[in-house]
Structure formats: C-alpha cells, structure tokens
C-alpha cells in the first residue's frame, strides 16, 4: 500500500518499484516513471506535490508500480542513506564479475 | 450489519442475528454466536450443544487464530453446529478454513466484487491433497497423503498371500 502522505522536508521526489520487474523507479517531470534517478522530478511546490501524489496513487491502482512514497532530498540527492542506495544500486554485485 | 454472503451455501438464514455478547446462564437455544479470535472456549463449553451456529471473527486475513479455534471447537469440544469463518478472508484460505472445520466463509458483500464466487471455488479446487493427517475434508482437499500412502502400502502387502 502506498504511504503517500508526505510530511517531508525539502524538495520531494516520488519513488516506487515497477510491479512487473520490481526495479526502482522515480517520477519524472512529465509525471511518468524512470529507472534513472537523474530523471526524477524534485519539487517543493505544493500543487505539484499534490499532483505527484494523485498520479502515483493512480499508477498503483492500475498496477504499474507498487509501494510508491515520497522521499526527502538534499542538494538534489535523496536525504536518507537507504534512498541514496536505491538510486545507485549495489556497491558490490557478483553479476559484475561474470 | 454486513450482508450475509455464505460462499458455500448452507441452510443458514441470510439475516441471522449475531449477539455480540453471550450469556452463558441462558438455557434456551442460541441461533448464532459470534466469537472474537481470542475467545476462551472453556467459557462457552457447556452451552455449545445449544448453539446452532458460531461465527468466528477474522479481523485480518493474516490473523490465523480463527483456524485454531475452529479446530478446537470441532476436535476438542465436539461442536457439530454450523461453523462460519467470518470476515477478512481471501479465497486462498478457503480450503484451509474447511480443513480446520469451518462449514462456510462469510465476507462482506463488497468483497465479492473483487473476489468473485468463482474465484473462491477455483481456489478450493486448486488442491486435492493435504499432508496433515486429520485435515482432509470431503468439500476441500479430500485425500490425506500419508493415509493414501499407507493404504497403498497395505494393499501391496495384502496381495501377498503370506502376509494376511
């Protein structure tokens, strides 16, 4: 379920996982989704945040994404350590040795 | 009061009233009783023969206490009235409910739009087999695997004239 209600600090970004692939995605400036955090829409504008909220809810309802939520950002990067990890992927993955 | 939706048709009146509190000192027949998941069954033990139907509440489908209550009511207390799993179940639990001793599941009417009666019967059809002895039921998984193996082993043995 979404924990959309944002009580965040600073510019907000919206993130989720694609239902089918499970991969992390962020909401883009045109209210779509991208697997690349660099495309993420970051905003403090209340109306835009409201809109992001609606779009994310709708995307969950039509089962494009799961578990959408707002994240705080600082200087263009996610504020929380965990969220920064989600943007760049594992620092070690055996896949890279193969 | 939600609409009564018995997934498996039984003889129960669609609008059976469910007293939420229970007075053990009464000695008349009780049409229907609703039990919370943490019910203490020893308190209603004496009245059980007078209770025609028991609705065990499932406040969340992840709360499996009701399954144990049903099992106890049937097995330890010998209750043989109607037993209904009442509340937030999902189709994938239908077989489990029957196997634990429920006769039926009741969900709120709105829920049946998402999980249609077909979804419930399909889920029930998904399994014919159960590993747990004592949990095979005609209406659900009807064959216990351990018992079936034993039957097969014994059949194999009795074919041997010297082992009878």
């Amino acid at each position: 379920m979404s924990t959309l209600k944002h009580k965040g600090k600073g510019p907000q970004a919206m993130t989720a996982n694609e239902l089918r692939s499970g991969l992390s995605v962020w909401m883009t400036k045109d209210f779509g989704w991208s697997r690349d955090y660099r495309d993420a829409l970051l905003t403090e504008d209340e109306a835009t945040i409201e809109r992001m909220d609606e779009v994310a809810r709708a995307a969950e309802l039509v089962n494009d994404v799961v578990g959408a939520y707002f994240i705080d950002t600082v200087d263009g990067k996610p504020a929380r350590y965990r969220e920064r990890f989600r943007t760049h992927g594992p620092t070690y993955d055996t896949a890279e040795l193969i | 009061m939600p609409t009564l939706e018995l997934i498996r048709p039984t003889g129960v009146e669609a609008d059976a009233t469910l007293p939420l509190d229970f007075d053990a000192s009464r000695n008349d027949d009780i049409e229907a009783l609703r039990l919370p998941p943490d019910a203490d069954l020893s308190q209603i033990e004496d009245a059980l023969p007078r209770i025609k139907s028991i609705f065990v509440a499932f406040d969340a489908f992840t709360d499996g206490r009701g399954f144990s209550l049903a099992r106890l009511l049937r097995q330890r207390y010998g209750y043989d009235g109607l037993l209904v799993a009442d509340g937030q179940l999902i189709p994938d639990q239908f077989a489990f409910a029957l196997q634990c001793g429920f006769d039926a599941v009741r969900v709120a009417e709105g829920e049946l739009k998402r999980h249609t009666p077909e979804a419930w019967t399909d889920a029930l059809d998904a399994f014919d087999l159960t590993y747990q002895r004592g949990y095979a039921v005609a209406a659900g998984p009807a064959t216990n695997i351990f018992d079936a193996r034993l039957t097969a082993m014994e059949a194999g043995q009795t074919a041997d004239p010297f082992s009878v």
Partner: protein
C-alpha cells in the same frame, strides 16, 4: 536422498499452478498488493531494495546434482548468472522479474523443488546438520525427520498464518551441533532414551533478531510416534497466544519468555493430552519409507590408504582445513568454501554450480549439501578421489582453504541488496578477508567464526559469532558494533556487546588488535572462544579499543 512420489509431485505442481494464478490476478489487479504480499512471501518472493528476490527452498540443505544444475539454469535464464546461499541453507536470486517467477517455479517443480514457505509467517524450510548421514558423531541421520517435517508443515491449514515466522532446525549429533538448534523457534536433537531407544529432545524459544535468546528445553525426550502431535500442540499454543499486537514481540521466544517456560510447557502438555494423537502421528511404516531414501550409499571397502605427503602443498592445506572425517573408513566429507575473499560470502556463479554438480556426480553419489555457514559440502567422497575433487574445484575457482577459519565469514546481503538494512555488510566481510588473506596466518589463528549482519534482524547471526558485527547507520554514515564470545553450537551463547561502534576502517584494525591479543594470550590448544571465556570481556574490550 528423498524422491517425490506422485503425491508430492502433484502437490507441488498444484502449488505452482496456484501461484501462477495468483500472479495473474495480481498483474490484472484483482489482487491488491496488500493481499498479494503474503501470498508471494509464502512462495519466497520478496520485493527488495532494487528488485524482487526469490528464495528457493533447499530442504534441510540437501540437493541432487540435477537440482543444482537447475538452480544454475535459473541463475542464467532468469537472473544475473549467480545465486546466494543463505544461512538457512536456501538459495536466493537477487534479480528475478515477477512475470518470470511462475516459470521459475515450474522449472523447479520439474526437479522436485519449490520455494514454498521460505518466507512469510508460517513454518519455514527446516534446516539440518550439513554432515547428516556422514558424520561420525551422529546418533541417527536427521534427514528423514527433516523430510517428514517438510511434508507435515507444507501448507498446514491451521499454521500458515502464525503471529510470525517459525523456524525449525534438526540435528542428529547433539554433541556437535552444526545446525544451531538453540537459535531456532524449535530445535530438535536426536537423542537416546533410558532404554537406548531413539527419540527427540525438543528445544523451544531460541532465535536471534532484535531480541536474541538461547532456546530452552521444552521436552527432554519425545518418542518418535509423538513428535507430530506434540509439535501440533506446540504450534497451536503459539498460534493462539503468540502476540499479534507488535511484530517485534510476535516470535515464540517472546511468548515463552512472557509466559515462562514452565507455564508454556504446561499449556502445550494440556493441548497435547487433548489431541487425538494417533490420528495425527505418522507411523513407523511411512517413517521407514522416507528413511529408506536416506540409506547409506554402497561404500567401497577396497580404498587404499591415501598418502598425502606426495601431494602438492596447496592441496594438503586444503585437505587440512576443508576435509573432515567420515563415519566410513576410506571416505571423507569435503567442504567447498564459498568464501572467496573477493566475492560476497555465499555467492556462487551458475558455472560454479554446474562444476560442483559434476564433481558430485563423479565423486559423491550425485549429492550436494548447503550449509548454514554459507558453504557447500560433498558428503561422501572416497579419500583416493580427494585429489580429483580438488583439481575440479581449482578449475572452478572454488578451492579456498578457509573452512572455519577467520576467512570463513557469515554475512547477510546488507544494504547492497536488502530493503531492511541499515548498513552494508558485504564490503566489511571483504575487507576482513583481505586483511587476513594469508593462509598461514589464518591457520595459526585457528577456529574463528566472524558473523556480520546489516541490521538488527541478525540474518548474519552476529549474536552467535565468536566475533559478531552489526552494521548500523547514523546521519548517513555507516558504523559497526562488535559483540564477542557468541557461540552457535551445543554450548550456545549470545555474544557480549562491546562499546561504541566503529567506522569500517577502524573496525578492521580493531579486529586485528583483538586477534593479535588472543594470539598473545592463548594457551596450548585454545581457540579464540576459549581464550575469550577464560580472560573475560574487559581484557578483550581493552584490546579492541586500544587505539581509540
């Protein structure tokens, strides 16, 4: 090892079909995420930090070679070419797609495997001594029991929605517990009764996580016939009275603690007495049927004494650390280390899986074990074939000679993969492995178990590591807390917490200081754990913080 009969096969196939239907209903929206989540979890499918993760059950850690090859196939076809052996002997894949999972489960079913109950609030995959059936110190092979429990717990109608997950471990060698039975919700030891008859010692309420507890005896001796009814009684007490108001207090260990072991035992006994035990128990005939699958292989008795002295040094070192005695003269148990210092502990590539499967076919009756130490085992190798096994392992880059040494680190995925993590754990294990990379030094240090978890859930068992490491985070910076003196065996103990945490670099230096301190203080034959117990916490704490 066990082969499915038609019932087992039909059962697992129905399960695959059911999950296929559930995925379909999820994809078209008939199932909401909230409803689907517990269903996917019951099939081992998580949503992790970056992607889904599928946890495949390796029941009691035993695999046939064709099953391991199938895991290799899954890794290649649906994932990124590798798998991860977990501390519960299962195999995880880090990158599957939801749409592919039904096909993965079908492929698994074709080799008698599944992902049932590898997650969720149900009875999880039963774990077991990886040397079962080969260990010299065993009373009885525990795998027939583990297989019986696998079947009994499978989609249990009454116990699939427990307050919390439920983990059972079994061992047939109570004097050398390699299955951590005291750190499980229920641990079962095969023991002998007063008449010499074989039965079970039942331990309850152990577990790690945020509240580590060593299990206590629930029943000193449970006759074989009574086991399933007795477990059913135990599970019913837990299902009814285990806390559901707070998921951190929902494990059976908390119920046992809050009711007290005496009262808990009383409740179980009351329940047990009221059960129709004869209708629940599984009789001798069926138990024998299962046990027959685990009968010892046809051992050869013509094996010539094996002369190590003529062998290369690297091979001798490997034999020294990775090979242990077998119950049968002329045979040996081979541990395959998945602890290459450059890799994540427990990771194995698809090619390596196939290589191990081939070695098992050629040299170990086609059977492989996974271990809770995140390694693999070939349980029945002729001593005169050890060299051939080693050659094969060298070719597959699996010849690390570090079993039970400081390089044999248990490590959870941590922040690199896990959605619940507070810090990374893989880089820490790599840094330790690198610092102590010298084989002679590892040998000199001797038995040492370092265990690392990336958060308080303790999947890396840090509480029971001789040195335990817990990764935490504060204001975006990782730091690591140390516990010392933990023990995962029959003398189980929770490690003592040291003081303030360390950065990763400080941590590695600190570990080196306590290892050096131990080396300086130890008496003849003492392991790190023994010296720690003898000298006590303050001395080691001082060494740990000497530089700070």
């Amino acid at each position: 090892m066990y082969r499915y009969d038609e019932f087992d096969a039909t059962f697992v196939e129905s399960r695959v079909a059911q999950f296929r239907g559930q995925v379909e209903r999820r994809l078209d929206g008939r199932l909401s995420e909230a409803e689907f989540r517990p269903l996917r979890l019951m099939n081992g499918l998580y949503l992790q930090l970056h992607a889904y993760m599928l946890r495949v059950a390796v029941p009691y850690g035993t695999l046939r070679s064709d099953q391991l090859r199938m895991l290799a196939h899954l890794a290649d076809r649906y994932d990124k070419g590798y798998g991860h052996v977990t501390t519960r002997q299962n195999m995880q894949f880090n990158w599957p797609k939801l749409e592919d999972v039904p096909d993965m489960l079908s492929d698994l079913a074709s080799v008698e495997m599944h992902a049932i109950q590898t997650s969720g609030n149900c009875i999880r995959n039963v774990t077991c001594d990886p040397y079962a059936g080969a260990a010299a110190d065993e009373i009885e092979d525990p795998r027939p029991l583990a297989e019986l429990l696998r079947q009994w717990s499978m989609l249990h109608p009454e116990f699939s929605f427990l307050p919390r997950k439920f983990k059972i471990a079994v061992t047939g060698a109570p004097t050398h517990d390699r299955a951590m039975v005291r750190a499980h919700d229920i641990g079962i030891e095969v023991v002998r009764g007063v008449e010499g008859e074989v039965g079970y010692h039942i331990i309850v309420g152990g577990g790690l996580g945020r509240t580590p507890v060593i299990g206590q005896t629930l029943r000193v001796f449970c006759p074989k016939d009574e086991l399933l009814p007795y477990l059913e009684a135990t599970m019913r007490v837990y299902n009814r009275f285990g806390r559901r108001d707070n998921k951190y207090k929902a494990r059976i260990k908390i119920l046992v603690r809050e009711t007290g072991i005496e009262e808990f035992r009383f409740l179980v006994d009351e329940e047990f007495k009221a059960l129709p035990a004869s209708k629940i128990m599984v009789g001798q005939a069926e138990r024998d049927r299962i046990a027959a699958y685990f009968a010892p292989p046809d051992y050869a008795n013509d094996i010539k004494a094996f002369d190590l002295s003529a062998q290369p040094e690297a091979f001798r070192k490997w034999v020294d650390t990775n090979v242990v005695p077998h119950i049968q003269p002329g045979y040996a148990i081979v541990n395959i280390s998945l602890k290459d210092p450059d890799r994540a502990p427990g990771d194995i590539t698809a090619d390596q899986m196939r290589a191990v499967a081939d070695l098992a076919d050629a040299h170990s009756i086609g059977e492989i074990r996974t271990t809770h130490q995140q390694n693999m085992v070939l349980a029945h190798v002729r001593q005169d074939e050890l060299r051939a096994v080693w050659d094969g392992l060298v070719k597959a880059d699996l010849e690390d000679a570090n079993i039970n040494l400081i390089g044999d680190i248990i490590c959870c995925p941590g922040m690199d993969f896990c959605a619940l993590a507070t810090a990374r754990s893989i880089p820490v294990s790599q840094a330790i492995a690198e610092r102590f990379n010298d084989h002679a030094r590892q040998q000199a240090i001797g038995e040492m178990q370092i265990k690392i978890s990336g958060c308080i859930n303790a999947c890396g068992h840090h509480h029971v590591g001789h040195i335990g490491i817990l990764g935490l985070e504060k204001a975006g910076v990782e730091f690591y807390q140390v516990t010392l003196g933990g023990d995962a065996t029959q003398t189980a103990a929770i490690g003592d917490k040291m003081g303030a945490g360390f950065s990763q670099d400080e941590l590695i230096d600190g570990i080196e200081r306590i290892v050096d301190f131990y080396m300086g203080q130890r008496t003849e034959g003492e392991r790190f754990l023994d010296t720690y117990r003898r000298l006590g916490t303050p001395a080691f704490k001082e060494a740990l913080y000497a530089d700070a």
